[in-house]
């Protein structure tokens, strides 16, 4: 297989996804197959071809004027928050 267990574990960690022991070989298998699939790109002749980040070429980023148009709506926005106290979002302690 193109990817080994350690790679799967390290990718899952980078992506902050918990994987059970049983899941690791399953993802190892499917991810390896995907890596094989995308490996077909190796054969493409792309010398001198620019990478294309946006499908419509030649467009430039619009810039907006420096004006404040947003007002405080934190009560509305925090209705969806799993844990809030004194308007702060709570998470397990962050150690610096």
């Amino acid at each position: 297989m193109s990817l080994n267990r350690d790679q799967i574990n390290s990718i899952a960690h980078l992506a902050r996804l918990s994987l059970t022991d049983a899941e690791i070989p399953v993802y190892q298998d499917s991810l390896s197959k995907i890596v094989d699939l995308v490996g077909q790109l190796d054969a493409a002749q792309t010398a001198g071809i620019e990478p294309m980040a946006h499908p419509l070429p030649g467009l430039a980023q619009r810039m907006r004027p420096d004006v404040v148009t947003e007002k405080d709506q934190h009560e509305l926005y925090q209705r969806n928050a799993p844990q809030v106290e004194a308007a702060l979002y709570l998470v397990p302690k962050v150690i610096e």
Binding site: A60, Q61, R62, R64, T69, D72, Y89, I95
Partner: protein, 491 residues
């Protein structure tokens, strides 16, 4: 060479400065950027990274970045790209920071610094790029949790990266101060280090003098005062030399400066190397800056600190040192020029007038501001009133020494120089007759000293000056006193 050799070791320092741009709204959202608002009251859907939201670029942030680039003689990229820097942290709501990676908006500039011994050095600026700030984690009052405030998330920053050109902590501080002054001159950043709008990370390494390659560097993060920058770097250099001399290796890592203990320590949580997986942000298009845009920004450039200092030296005849002090802030320089102009009655100041004004602004005024922890914009003596005082020195109404007392009174009482001179009767005595009379009286009262002086004890001249000054309540014109006393003592 300005850098001290550390027993055969050379220090190499590069600085990364994050300056918050003083735009009204955030770089990618229209939320306010004001400091000190209640938690999460300035965080909208975009700042909170709600599902479905998208970034839109603030034109003023781009203008400010270009302004900086022009001021440091850098190249402004006609096309630059925003990239995502991916990592997980609670103050980073999207799970990525929008920054610039391969194509920054500004590249290849420089900053000239003057060191304590007067030597000049050019520090290269590798690049300056635009990015968004993260929010804040608060830890007080919550035993096992941290509270996240996203007001700051999305505030525009320019990250200014220097070449590793500095060779001592003092050079680093000089560079940092110069950049600090510049961003305030340009009015793109308020430079408030306590509030976090101007932050500095230092990359520090050491190597044997003469070595070609750089040593392994450590990054010291988020130092928020000039004093701490110097201390942190010095501590770190000593630490690294220690490690190397005892046969160890310097670890490439991120360290935090602890101002209470005066030492740097490793940041455990960031020790694992982060793979940021940079790629161009597909929600944003490339930023195109054409010549017209750059010209538009160029037209808004103020006279830069170096240019102003140069002018003070060449046109006003000030010393480089005085010019440097007076141009350390745009407001201070403006204040000074106003004083000089008023002193000259609206005409061009003469060299004497320029010097007089410089002495007082850089001297007594600066000292008073320092003592009371005030900025020039909060001065208790405005330019007109200071000029009023200096005029009285210039026209001999009072001596320089008396002027110092008047200044003190002006500062505390808030009155004009004339009012104080009048009310305290401080006018100089310039009437030769009155001075001669005082001299005669002192000579008569001190026959012994007179005889000693006339027999060769020249030092007693000062005694007589003091006595006459005392007798005249300090108001005798010193120059006249000197002349007349010399004549009379000579006999």
């Amino acid at each position: 060479m300005s850098a001290p050799a550390n027993g055969g070791w050379e220090t190499v320092i590069g600085l990364e400065i994050h300056a918050q741009l003083s735009t009204k709204s955030k770089i990618f959202s229209a939320s306010a950027t004001e400091y000190g608002a209640g938690p999460n009251t300035q965080a909208n859907l975009v700042d909170l990274a709600y599902p479905g939201v998208l970034p839109v670029l603030n034109a003023e942030a781009v203008r400010m970045a270009v302004k900086f680039g022009l001021a440091v003689g850098a190249q402004v990229a006609p096309r630059s790209v925003f990239a995502r820097k991916n990592y997980f942290y609670p103050d980073l709501p999207k799970g990525y920071q929008i920054s610039q990676y391969e194509l920054p908006v500004v590249a290849k500039g420089h900053m000239d610094i003057v060191l304590d011994d007067g030597t000049r050095k050019r520090v290269g600026i590798t690049r300056a790029h635009l990015e968004e700030d993260a929010g804040k984690s608060l830890h007080e009052g919550l035993p096992k949790q941290s509270g996240i405030d996203l007001n700051r998330a999305g505030t525009p920053l320019i990250e200014i990266v220097s070449e590793p050109d500095m060779r001592s902590a003092k050079e680093a501080v000089a560079y940092l101060k110069k950049v600090h002054t510049l961003v305030r001159y340009l009015e793109i950043c308020d430079g408030n280090m306590q509030e976090g709008s101007f932050r500095c990370d230092a990359n520090v390494s050491v190597r044997r003098v003469g070595a070609e390659k750089f040593g392994t560097r450590a990054e010291i993060k988020n130092i928020n005062s000039f004093r701490f920058v110097e201390k942190a770097i010095n501590y770190e250099v000593a630490r690294q030399i220690d490690v190397l001399e005892s046969g160890g290796k310097v670890v490439q890592e991120t360290r935090l400066y602890d101002p209470d203990k005066g030492e740097t320590r490793s940041m455990r949580s960031k020790e694992e190397a982060n793979d940021y997986r940079y790629f161009p942000d597909p929600d944003l298009l490339p930023v195109e800056i054409d010549a017209a845009f750059v010209e538009g920004v160029k037209a808004t450039l103020p006279e830069l600190p170096d240019q102003k200092a140069e002018r003070f030296v060449s046109t006003l005849g000030l010393s480089e040192y005085d010019a440097g002090v007076l141009t350390s802030s745009k407001e201070l320089a403006a204040y000074y020029e106003q004083v000089a102009k008023l002193l000259a009655g609206g005409k061009d100041a003469t060299k004497e007038q320029a010097k007089l004004a410089a002495n007082w602004v850089a001297g007594s005024l600066a000292a008073a501001l320092n003592e009371h922890n005030l900025d020039i914009t909060e001065t208790r003596i405005d330019a007109a009133r200071l000029a009023g005082l200096l005029n009285r020195i210039a026209d001999n109404t009072i001596s320089g020494k008396i002027a110092k007392d008047v200044f003190e009174a002006m500062w505390t009482e808030g009155k004009d120089a004339d009012a104080i001179i009048e009310s305290k009767g401080l006018k100089q005595i310039t009437d030769t007759g009155a001075i001669e009379k005082a001299i005669d009286e002192v000579m008569a009262k001190n026959p012994g000293q007179l005889a000693d002086y006339r027999s060769g004890k020249d030092k007693l001249f000062g005694f007589f000056v003091g006595q006459v000054m005392k007798a005249t309540g300090g108001k005798a014109n010193p120059a006249q006193l000197n002349d007349l006393l010399k004549k009379k003592l000579a006999g």
